[in-house]
């Protein structure tokens, strides 16, 4: 199911100089901003929840997910180098599963870890806010990585579609239109965070059970479909 060579090739491509800079920029911004807010406003639980919810979970995690998820396979399909993986006696599902694991790992490192650090800087994990949002970031990393890996497999414009989804659907509709919230990875992960925090500062529009089922279903279905697409992937000639 998991191939260490595919994993090595994937994370080395993902953490190439330029992409690593983009991956590192947003977390750095979050931590710097948290330090500034803490210095100006002091330790405030509501401020911490607003910043982690609005910037970390609603914006940073999906964007990192887009970069890691689509970047784990999209460029290889675009430039044709995926042929070196496809011309091996290797199950397509193994390729997808391995790339998913790498994409999840990268998304978690570049989004959940900075979320925890930012939370600690903001209010020292008061009311479990830092841990709650970190758990939400971890959980949503899995679903985002799977969704955007699928997008990278089916579309040449995966990054654009991914960003539109992340910014328009998750960040805008997700916070404004009630119906859209039910179909939002962010809300599902917030349901898990709500359970962890316990208080009123972290809330979700979706129940924990529904959220868990949807998170698992989206991850499994997206991964299965990505494997299916890779199996039928055709490499057209240059003629």
């Amino acid at each position: 199911m998991y191939d260490p060579t595919v994993a090595r090739l994937t994370y080395r491509a993902l953490l190439g100089r330029r992409r690593a800079l983009i991956l590192g920029a947003l977390p750095l911004l979050l931590i710097v901003l948290s330090a500034v807010v803490r210095a100006i406003a002091g330790a405030d639980d509501q401020t911490a929840a607003d910043l982690l919810g609005g910037l970390a979970l609603a914006t940073m995690v999906p964007i990192i997910g887009v970069i890691a998820g689509t970047g784990a396979i999209g460029p290889e399909i675009d430039d044709g180098s995926v042929v070196y993986l496809l011309s091996k006696p290797l199950k397509r599902s193994t390729i997808i599963f391995t790339k998913l694991i790498v994409a999840i790992g990268v998304t978690m490192v570049f989004s959940a870890l900075p979320t925890l650090l930012a939370g600690l800087v903001l209010n020292g994990n008061g009311q479990q806010i830092a841990v709650a949002y970190t758990v939400a970031a971890l959980v949503s990393s899995i679903a985002y990585a799977a969704l955007f890996l699928l997008l990278g497999t089916v579309s040449r414009h995966a990054v654009v579609f991914g960003l539109v989804y992340a910014l328009v659907w998750e960040a805008l509709f997700g916070s404004l239109v009630p119906g859209a919230r039910t179909l939002s990875v962010q809300q599902w992960s917030l349901a898990v965070a709500q359970k962890v925090a316990g208080g009123d500062l972290v809330t979700s529009d979706v129940g924990l059970t529904t959220a868990t089922v949807l998170l698992v279903a989206v991850t499994v279905l997206a991964t299965w479909f990505a494997g299916h697409k890779l199996r039928s992937l055709t490499l057209a000639g240059e003629e």
Binding site: D3, P4, T5, V6, R8, L9, R12, A13, G16, D79, G80, S81, V83, Y84, L85, L86, S87, K88, P89, L90, K91, R92, R231, S232, L233, T234, L235, A236, G237, E238, E239
Partner: protein, 303 residues
């Protein structure tokens, strides 16, 4: 003994038919897949390599379906035309990764690198490689598991003459060892130098198949057209038309040239300079006017 069978294979993209009802069998030795650009060679090679599903027909390797059969890659080595590799790796890392994906280790990678004589540059990043070096590392990655079928799509594109010779030598050796080697090319001379057997594709169709010399003769026996400018076109025309090697000569006044149709290519090319010298005529231009591959191939199709 590995045999690749293409049985009534067609492939279309929307309304465009890229490969049209092709049937051929590729056996051990070196086979050249020859055809002008856009003839459907890459599409056919992609189907042979299992990277594209035929719209109709089947591609089998020793009776086993190629499409959607990952296990088949234990026997197939692929050298794609596209340049993209994993440029951030060194040549050695790339070949080792390819070996590992076959369940093999360092030893196999080193052997493949030695076969293509790339050990000297194996620790350099692929991004710093010349076209020829990239091609050789691609070869190493395809040879790492000692495949019985080697598919190469336009392997000589962009290579300098020395690199070309080295690769030809290598492919010749692979063929001599009993492997089935198929390479595509749109350059007649490349195929002539290397292939024992050729398959010609024109406009998606299988135009000719067989021994290279026979097909080459078909190609050279067709009427050749030349544009000739000289110090005395009329006198030259009169002298040339008397010989059996020419079928027609037109004095093109607008162009200030002769349009010669030669039926015996070899005899005409020997005759022209001799006649010119004997009559004291200076030849200013002698250029073939229909030597494009497309015209050669279209002649083949109608032959």
């Amino acid at each position: 003994m590995t045999t690749l069978s293409i049985d009534h294979v067609s492939r279309w993209f929307g309304n465009v038919v890229a490969v049209n009802d092709v049937t051929m069998t590729i056996g051990p030795g070196v086979t050249g897949l020859l055809g002008p650009n856009g003839a459907g060679k890459s599409t056919l090679i992609n189907m042979m390599g299992g990277f594209l599903a035929p719209s109709t027909g089947s591609v089998t390797l020793d009776g086993e379906q190629v499409w959607r059969n990952e296990g088949i890659y234990r026997h197939i080595g692929v050298v794609p035309e596209r340049e993209a590799m994993y440029d951030f790796l060194t040549g050695r890392e790339f070949v080792v990764a390819n070996a590992e994906l076959h369940g093999l280790g360092d030893k196999a990678a080193q052997r493949a690198l030695a076969t293509v004589e790339m050990e000297h540059a194996q620790d350099r990043k692929i991004s710093t490689y010349s076209k020829g070096m990239r091609q050789r590392v691609k070869m190493a990655s395809a040879l790492v598991h000692d495949p019985s079928l080697l598919l190469l799509d336009e392997p000589f594109n962009g290579m300098d003459p020395r690199q070309r010779m080295q690769l030809m030598e290598l492919l010749r050796r692979m063929g001599d060892e009993g492997r089935t080697v198929l390479f595509s090319s749109h350059i007649l001379e490349e195929v002539e130098q290397l292939a024992w057997h050729i398959e010609v594709m024109v406009a998606g169709r299988h135009a000719a198949s067989g021994d290279f010399r026979k097909i080459r003769r078909l190609m050279t026996d067709r009427p050749h057209r030349y544009l000739v400018r000289s110090s005395d076109d009329r006198a030259l025309a009169a002298a040339l038309i008397a010989d059996l090697s020419t079928a027609a000569i037109e004095v093109d006044l607008a162009e200030g040239a002769l349009r010669v149709q030669a039926v015996d290519f070899g005899r005409f090319t020997a005759l022209l300079p001799r006649v010119a010298r004997d009559h004291g005529i200076r030849l200013l231009t002698v250029s073939p006017s229909d030597e494009s591959l497309e015209s050669v191939f279209s002649y083949l199709v109608t032959a």
